[in-house]
Symmetry: C2
Subunit: 219 residues, 2 copies
């Protein structure tokens, strides 16, 4: 019986996600659903991306947080449209919450809509938001065993960002083990090795995400 | 209606948790429900604790994991009773899963039962397992904003372990900010500053957890 209830919830979520996806496709807006553990560096990634690509693309952000608007406050300086969704204890965003706020954005005037999901490696990977794709962010400080232990997200993700590579010298992170586990789960997924604070690998990320944009280049 | 279903699930969870708690109390077993983000150091904490206190106390472990028995494999060398619960995608343990495995332990012959919950800062804090208390573990690499952003666990926890303090020099962790946020949420909670890999602060932790044991000292 519990499985049935869960199936209903997922069905209703899927219908609404399909609606959101259709709307975004019609407006040629790229929506990226960013998922990670707490503190892997999602907000810092968005800060660096807004800094670098802010003049090239029109970006917006949906900030999913259990409580507070701290992440949104960090992005305020970029003067882009930001909507905060506080889940009040909820462990993930769903397509209904996205659908409710999507009209606050002028989709004609938007190239990329980033969704910073609630910090959680498990539940967010099970809910389609209507995104173009999911992006997995994982920090080296979390250890090399995350793909093996939390395979759902790494299987679903269109790209994996391994962040905080500047901390590798101070941890026992086994890079070969990480790569091997990831290759088992999602053999051809692009892997970017980054330090969002120090700058390593950021150009490769900027280039790749720029290549995903759907709207034709502005003249 | 969804709230009602959730309430039923929580009610049923609470009844079973009370049963587990009654059983453990009658056997004077301390059960510690360890909760953290993925990769904050729960398993390393258990490794160090088994090494140090293994001759003083009789310990057992319930390992909650989405999939794999990797954490249990790391603890096998201590030759203590370990039961793995794979949630197969589930984001937390509940009291029913604990109740099903509790009989595999000889509770007469056990001082401490550690439960390593699924790596997740949100959902596990909402489910009473029948534990004596919850323990929050957070790594400095996750950033100083975790108590403010995920207050449920930090409000519930009987103690907070700030792990990986050896990484502070390589991060922008703001210790004063962390302490201030935690003091707002849970003013008198004991805070242990640790490096489970380097050893800092471990003696304070060993002493505190030893003081929590319920069974009278063996002669």
């Amino acid at each position: 019986m519990e499985i049935k209830i869960m199936k209903n919830i997922l069905d209703r979520n899927q219908n609404k996600a399909d609606e959101v996806r259709g709307l975004l496709a019609s407006k040629e807006v790229l929506m990226v659903n960013i998922i990670s553990s707490p503190g892997a560096g999602k907000t810092t990634l968005l800060e660096r991306t807004c800094e670098e690509l802010g003049t090239k693309f029109r970006m917006g952000v949906i900030e999913g947080d259990v409580t507070t608007d701290r992440d949104a406050q960090r992005l305020k300086k970029f003067n882009i449209p930001i909507v905060v969704i506080n889940t009040e204890g909820g462990c993930h965003l769903d397509s209904h919450s996205i659908s409710k706020v999507i009209d606050s954005f002028d989709l004609e005037d938007l190239d990329i809509l980033f969704v910073e999901n609630v910090g959680n490696l498990i539940c967010p990977s099970q809910f389609d938001l209507g995104e173009t794709f999911k992006l997995a962010v994982v920090s080296t400080a979390e250890g090399d065993d995350k793909p093996a232990k939390y395979p759902m997200l790494f299987r679903e993700a269109k790209a994996v960002l391994l962040n905080k590579i500047d901390l590798i010298p101070y941890t026992n992170f086994n890079y070969a083990g990480f790569r091997a586990d990831l290759a088992n789960i999602n053999p051809h997924v692009p892997l970017f090795e980054l330090s969002c604070t120090r700058g390593d690998g950021m150009n490769e990320w900027f280039e790749w995400i720029s290549g995903q944009v759907l709207k034709p280049k502005r003249p």
